[in-house]
Symmetry: C2
Amino acid sequence: MSKKLGEQSLIFETQPKIISTANIVGPLEGKGPLKEFYDFILKDNLNNLDSWEKAESYMLEWAVKKAAEKGYKTIDDIDIMFAGDLLNQLMSSHFAARQLARPFLGLYGACSTLVEGMIIGSVFIEGSFASNVISAVSSHHDAAERQYRFPTELGTQRPPISQWTVTGSGAMVISNTGESPKITTATVGKVIDMGIKDANAMGPAMAPAAADTIRQHLQDTDRLPNYYDMIYTGDLGKIGKALVIDLLKEKGNIDITSNYEDCGCLIYSEDQDTHSGASGCASSAITFTGYIYQKLLKNTLKKVLLVGTGSLHSPTSYLQRESLPGIAHAVSIEI
Amino acid sequence: MSKKLGEQSLIFETQPKIISTANIVGPLEGKGPLKEFYDFILKDNLNNLDSWEKAESYMLEWAVKKAAEKGYKTIDDIDIMFAGDLLNQLMSSHFAARQLARPFLGLYGACSTLVEGMIIGSVFIEGSFASNVISAVSSHHDAAERQYRFPTELGTQRPPISQWTVTGSGAMVISNTGESPKITTATVGKVIDMGIKDANAMGPAMAPAAADTIRQHLQDTDRLPNYYDMIYTGDLGKIGKALVIDLLKEKGNIDITSNYEDCGCLIYSEDQDTHSGASGCASSAITFTGYIYQKLLKNTLKKVLLVGTGSLHSPTSYLQRESLPGIAHAVSIEI
């Protein structure tokens, strides 16, 4: 029987379980409003390693091992690991995967990668191709800034619209057995580009994709927004968040004001001076694997729509005066 | 019933069908020994566009559209498109996906990406999550050289061990119905790194991963090498090919000398001066979608093992004196 749902969605009948999650963050994140929900806080962004890139890879490896441990699994119990990050050629993920020595499939959806891994991992579980899989991502402020914009040592002034790439990693074990929060449906997004050309305006660049995926998800599943206790986007920041609300109202007559939040608006407090909020693969990852997952375990939230959002531009395409394409994928998690 | 097979392999009971393939190549490839198997040969590497990157993206979009057309499908019949390339942030794939406007999941496994897409796509088909999916990849000599090594305008001398990144793109439609060649099993590889630090020595860097995946595949499926009419690796080149043969003989007592070839050794003739052979995502892609697929359709080959091979280093990790990790994924295709 087909498990396609409408135009772009999938339904999981056996409902893959998120049996455990883990996260690790940098010092700035560790001082933020969600600090009690992190498993480990690094003392500094280098963590006594030679480079920021190596520190990022260390975090990813740590999060995967911790997620397995918290799910009472050994690394060898993991059938396949799905991971990705923001660094060119998925440097953090590949060097972590080298240490972990498990079957590995690399994904790239910019900051939507965690949800992409949850969708593909769930398809493997539901199809009986795996019993336990990992979805994991990482990002690192200094490593990302020097690759995408300017080395942080330059002290380049950041415009108010800019967001702060999260230093951190989040991982989860998705399994075919257990009583944990379940992945029930998913919506795979399209690449959408509204022509925004400012590489700092990632929230506005991703907002149309997020709105499109949320609208499509509700249509495919025949649900109203209030079916969900909360809808979370990954890293739109303040401006992107406001845009999603407006776009859904204008284009779909859909009102999500009462049950919508963006992970990028939760990670830092106003006085942490990160401008428009958090971004990066780790934005949705550390928030989902900590704050949101804990609420699901405690039944404070029973139905959540997690929308991973990715800005797909590259420094090369930006220099070639191309605009910033965006993408968004959604998974519904229920208990 | 579990569809896991042994340690790292998957079995497809409904056997997803490769109903159509398409490819497009640059002028150098179009003068090579496999020229009769290409759907379109560009007159020059820029194809009248502003940049090599745009030319690469054009090829990927062209190959996807052509594969759909040859399979008597419209683009809207494609449920999900899986694609990746070698450019940072999958620039070619994302700009092609923007034009194609179908649900998109980006993959990165360096030159193993085509097979990664075939595996994940087959899992979606077998699990009834999709009726038709695309697996597509691209690479472009000049775009890849300037990103990974030196801009080609510099005329930097290439060492004899180096390989030539293929300019081209290959795509296929994998479907749940049809009488075409079938994907019957797959093996997901691990990241393996033997410590090679020369960024030109990609064949030797990938060979241990290729040997490990072939050995694991034969063990998981309880097959001897001669079960297959041919085993093809993606882009090991002359030196990597010789190493795989030796590694399998020494470490596994497995002899593949009589039915093994590397796609990277088929694309260029000796007098085309590409040194150790072809590399790049398009190496396995243009060879499989043309030469190998035609042999399957004509029953000249009935059982093929295609092993996608990827060198997972980045210019950043190389500058940080890291070694080159490799990965290899395998799919068996049978008629």
